[in-house]
Structure formats: C-alpha cells, structure tokens
Amino acid sequence: MSDSQESFVPNPVLSGLVGICPLIAAANSLAEGVMYGLGTALCALAIGASVPLLKDRLPDRLRAPATLCLSAFFALCYAFALRLYSPTIAAGLWIYIPLLAVSSLSLLVLRRTSSKGRFGTDGRSRLVDIAVEALLFLLTATVVGGLRELIGLGTLSIPTQGPSPARFFFTEWAPLRILVSPAGGFIFLGFLVAVYRTIIRATRRRRT
C-alpha cells in the first residue's frame, strides 16, 4: 500500500456507512444535524484521548466494558450540555442522543485504536486520524441535515442558544417534504454516497 493510500481517512458515513440509522433519524434539519454530528465528534475525540491513557492501566478483560462505560459517560455529559444549550434541539434529538455512545465507538479509526498501539503504522498519532474522522462525521451530518432541510422545507435553522433555533426562510412553501422524513433521508443519503464514491473512484483513477 502506498503512503498516500495509508494516510487517507475515508468518510465514515459515506464510505463505511457508520451510524447512518441514528444520523438519518436525528438529522432532519441543519440545527439537529450540527448538534448530532458535534456530539459524535466530541465523544469520539474524548474516547480517543482517554482510551490510550487507560490501556496501560487496565487488564485486557476490562478494556471493552471500560471503553463502553466511558463512551456512555461522554454521551450523557453531551446530552446534559445540549439540554442546557437548547432544550428544543435536545427534545428533537430525543432517544438518538444516547446512541452517540455507539455512533462514536463505531468510527473505524477509533476501533483500531482500542485494539492496537497508540500510533499508526505510518507513525502518526491515531488521535489525529480520529480527529479527521470525527470532523468528517460532523461535516457529513451538517451537510445531510442542512440539505434535507433546505431542499425538503425550503428553510435553514442555525443552532442558537435558547428555546428555538434561528431560522432563514427561502421559500413560502415546503418544496420536497418527503426528504425530512426518515425514508426521504435514506434516499438522499443513497444519492450522496453515490456522488462521494464516484468522486473517490475518479480521484484514484487519475492518480494511477
């Protein structure tokens, strides 16, 4: 494998289809997409930073349950913070907030980190890879939530502090309301995955 391929961190959602069910169910507006993606990214970073520290102190048999407990702890902390920041967005994300614990643990680099060394084969810290992957998850959740809201409802909501997110209206009516529902979300994600994979394939072909 070449160095360029080794250092490539694929998009966890569009390439690995990681955590798509809670993402599609939760991210039906820009505000909810941003807050869900941010939660997953922060939890992944917190676990990625704390698991290598615990690795030397914990026996093998306790490593998996400890990682899961830590992940649930960080997800709960984020849920509390979100309730204080915006109770409406917290109510909107509802049961999907606890699923942050699983979504963040599903990130591919994070899984590799908890089973191998602190550094990758190319010598880079795995925390940097986790940060890139977490950022890609946040970016994808933002794009999915934002485009679904924009095309589906003709509006964009910005996650501001307080009871309701700030809103911008672009049309008087909802152009394609089905996109806001989970079924429409999966159709939209299918198109996004197709576009992403076409771009990646074209880039690889150009390199070879």
């Binding site: 169910a25 039906n28 914990l58 702890f73 709960l76 509390f80 109770p87 109510a91 309701s164």
Partner: protein
C-alpha cells in the same frame, strides 16, 4: 487466597470504584441540569404569573413536573411537555385550572420551520397530542388536590 486471585479482586474493585465515580459525576451533573431546567420552565410558564412553585416529579413520558402558579386571581397549574414526530419536534407549555381545565396553551419552541404558529394547530400536528393534554390535565388536578 492465591496471589493471582487477590490481584483479580483488586482489579475488579478498582474498576468498580471508577464506575462508581463516573456514576457520582453523572448524578451531580443531572442535579445541576435539572435545577437549570426547572428555572427555564418556570421562566417559560410565568409569563403572567406572580410566583411559580415546582410540585415535584411526575412519572410521564412527555413531561417531568407540574408547577403551581400563584396569581392574584387564583391558582393555576402548569406543565411543560415535548412532542416529537419523525419530521418535527416542539416544546409546549400548558396551564390548567385546579379542576384540570385547559387555560392556556403555549408553543415554547420548535425544531421544524413548517409547524403552524398557532399552538393548538401545532399540537394537533403531532399524534397522541390529545392523550398528552389529558394526562397533563389529570396531573394538574392531582397536584391541585395535593396542594390544597
């Protein structure tokens, strides 16, 4: 007791106490968040009220507490509840008479841009809204009984 067994017991004890510490942290955070939530809900309900008193927790999937609102005209009881569908979510506030009759319904915030602005219409767009309102009315009437 063998050395290996003692080591394992110590490891388990250490893991257990670490878990206990995390649980304690969660408990402290939840107390802080609950007190902030109560303050926010009181602010949301006390638009025309002289003073609002929280009457303790309620075991309901949609709302947590009933508030007693003391006004010069008489007492009323308020509830803040959330409704959610696959397309939208919203927070509502409702005040009831001591007998459980609806006095005022408020749309406190929503996560969907296309919800009707009228609170009654917004609530009607969620399934199970009537059941939630009637449970809130019952909780208000029970709180009024306990209060008197």
């Amino acid at each position: 007791m063998s050395e290996k067994m003692r080591e394992k017991i110590l490891e388990n004890l250490a893991a257990g106490s670490a878990l206990g510490f995390l649980t304690l942290l969660i408990a402290v955070f939840s107390i802080v968040v609950d007190s902030r939530s109560i303050a926010w809900e009181k602010d949301a309900l006390a638009i025309s009220a002289a003073s609002v008193v929280a009457l303790g927790r309620v075991d309901d999937p949609d709302f947590d507490r009933v508030y007693a609102i003391r006004e010069s005209a008489g007492s009323s009881y308020g509830v803040v509840f959330s409704k959610r569908s696959s397309r939208a979510s919203a927070l509502f506030g409702a005040t009831f008479s001591p007998k459980g009759e609806l006095r005022e319904l408020m749309l406190l915030g929503s996560c969907s841009s296309r919800l009707p602005t009228n609170p009654k219409d917004a609530l009607d767009s969620f399934t199970g809204s009537e059941a939630t309102l009637s449970r809130a009315a019952n909780a208000a009437a029970t709180a009024a009984e306990a209060d008197s």
